[in-house]
């Protein structure tokens, strides 16, 4: 028996919004510690890693580890049926081929349940090596979303370069070029609005705007976003979901042609 209850359905709704454009289907691995999801998009350019800890749920019970393959489009449709303030409960029997979502309105007057078929998914689990990153940048998530949106109008790819002075995002294309520089915040009054850069070595990498724009769908989950970069390894974009877990996106950089 698996049962997980959240007081606010909005968290789950936002999580789904944050992954459904990248992934069409994914496996939710549930065990004692909570729910984990790890999946690459079809072209193996990006990876989503989601953790929802058991202690973040209002109620959490998982007798046997189960993996539930879900069609994220269908799941998103179901979650759209829930009000933001509704309580949501996910339920599944051991070895079941369906999962049930129960939504309860705050005054308990309306209870709805939706059952969804699970899928038989064949998924690869990737080992993500612990990496020391040369640069980590923390900044307001809305600011990052804005930069990605603005720069994607100029070109398909965006260069992120992190130096002592700050971090620079740039793009260029047919209409011209765009540069956005952010300096480290001098005095931190509000932590949520701060730009904090930790750097051992300067790094410059190029990424596809399209994917960054998919990642920023997670903006509403967290006021801050953390970017971690090292030369020639994937970028990590992390959103911490308050009190329950995090969502991490990995994105392979664009590389210069060598032989062609």
């Amino acid at each position: 028996m698996f049962e997980a209850r959240l007081l606010r359905s909005s968290i789950l709704k936002k999580v789904l919004e944050a992954i459904k454009d990248l992934l069409t289907q994914a496996t939710f691995d549930c065990d004692d510690n909570g729910i984990q999801l790890q999946a690459m998009d079809n072209s193996h350019v990006s990876l989503v890693s989601l953790t929802l800890r058991a202690d973040g749920f209002d109620k959490y019970r998982c007798d046997r580890n189960i993996s539930m393959g879900m069609n994220l489009g269908s799941m998103s449709k179901i979650l759209k049926c829930a009000g933001d303030k509704d309580t949501v409960t996910m339920k599944a029997q051991d070895n079941a081929d369906t999962v049930t979502f129960v939504f309860e309105s705050p005054n308990q007057e309306k209870v709805s349940d939706y059952e969804m078929k699970l899928m038989n998914l064949d998924l690869e689990h990737l080992g993500i090596p612990e990496t020391e990153y040369s640069c980590t940048i923390r900044m307001p998530s809305a600011e990052f979303a804005r930069i990605c949106r603005d720069l994607s109008q100029f070109g398909e790819s965006m260069v992120i370069s992190c130096t002592k002075e700050g971090v620079k995002f740039s793009a260029s294309g047919d209409i011209g070029s765009a540069n956005v520089k952010l300096a480290q915040t001098a005095s931190i009054d509000k932590e949520e609005e701060a730009v904090v850069i930790e750097m051992d070595e300067p790094v410059t990498l190029t990424f596809a705007c399209q994917y960054l724009n998919y990642f920023t769908k997670a903006t509403s989950l967290s006021p801050q976003v953390q970017l971690s970069m090292s030369a020639d390894v994937p970028l990590v974009v992390e959103y911490r979901i308050p009190d329950i877990g995090h969502i991490r996106y990995y994105l392979a950089p664009k590389i210069e042609e060598d032989d062609s």
């Binding site: 496996t27 690459m40 079809n42 072209s43 193996h44 350019v45 990006s46 990876l47 993996s67 393959g69 070895n95 081929d97 699970l118 038989n120 998914l121 064949d122 998924l123 690869e124 689990h125 990737l126 080992g127 993500i128 090596p129 398909e156 790819s157 190029t206 596809a208 390894v233 994937p234 990995y250 392979a252 950089p253 664009k254 590389i255 210069e256 042609e257 062609s260």
Partner: protein, 379 residues
Amino acid sequence: MGILGLSKLIADIAPQAVKEMEIKNYFGRKVAIDASMSLYQFLIAVRSEGAQLTSVDGETTSHLMGTFYRTIRLVENGIKPVYVFDGKPPDMKSHQLNKRAERREEAEKELQKATESGDTASIEKFNRRLVKVTKQHGEEARQLLKLMGVPVVEAPCEAEAQCAQLVKAGKVYAVATEDMDALTFGADVLLRHLTFSEARKMPVQEFHLNHVLSGLELNHKEFIDLCILLGCDYCGSIRGIGPKRAIELIKQHRSIEQVLHNIDTKKYQPPENWDFENARRLFVEPEVADAKDIELKWCDPDEEGLVKFLCGDKQFNEERVRNGAKKLMKARTGTTQGRLDGFFKVLSTTPNPKRKAEEEKKNANKKAKTGGGRGRKPK
């Protein structure tokens, strides 16, 4: 012609070995394309009002049209194509080629009949059957590809075998062909429908040899024997043994020799002088050029050259050709998107945990039933 019924067999028995992908997922991949197969495809498919496209003198240009635009489509999607042309057919294929010639003659007769009776549907049908890729078609396609900056490889013998060799050597990611024998030749990844027209909206089918083998529970040697039993280009097969029987027999006996030893050869007669051993040898050690000596180089397209070659007599629209050349040029600049596969290691693949669970359940049910039966008796 490939292997008879292999793709259906794989889809039935090892569905997990076939993946449907979108063409855009192959960005940055180098792909070897079986040229004669795709030229044939173009001659059949690229038509206007049922007739092939022609130049002023009535020479066919369908193959050039196809090669030009479909290659551009691949390149625009970030794919780096290599075209591999057939050399001499192996001696063992002569039988198959004779058969094909016979069929052409038949079609020609039918065509005449149809023309006399004015049956337009049949005229078109038999016209298509008469399509043949000639030396000249090949020559023109080579010339065009060179102008487009796309590398061409000349296979000493069968193109599929050469493609497979390029995959095995890691020079390219996959073979793009409709014929399944590339798998028999040992190509790790085979793509079907890659050169189909965009309008057909066909997803690209990706076959992985290792998944095919594990799905069929065979090793590569046994797989080759299976393909020969199914029917290949190099020798006949046993009458009365279809795909289902073939896979059963190979699984049971593990080689053609053992199969012959164990089946009733009167009921299932193998062809006279059945030379399956040589056919097998052709699959295991085909005549190919060493991939190490093949250098694949993509160059800038020659816009003026393309215009000169395609426009004028061949009646291509100059503006569209120039546009095409620009697209080729644009795809060459800029950076390529990397993939995560190189950075992270696959820890485990969970092959359908639920299916396994279902099987376990079935077994459990069986046990429960038999147990229950025994329990009841003493009452």
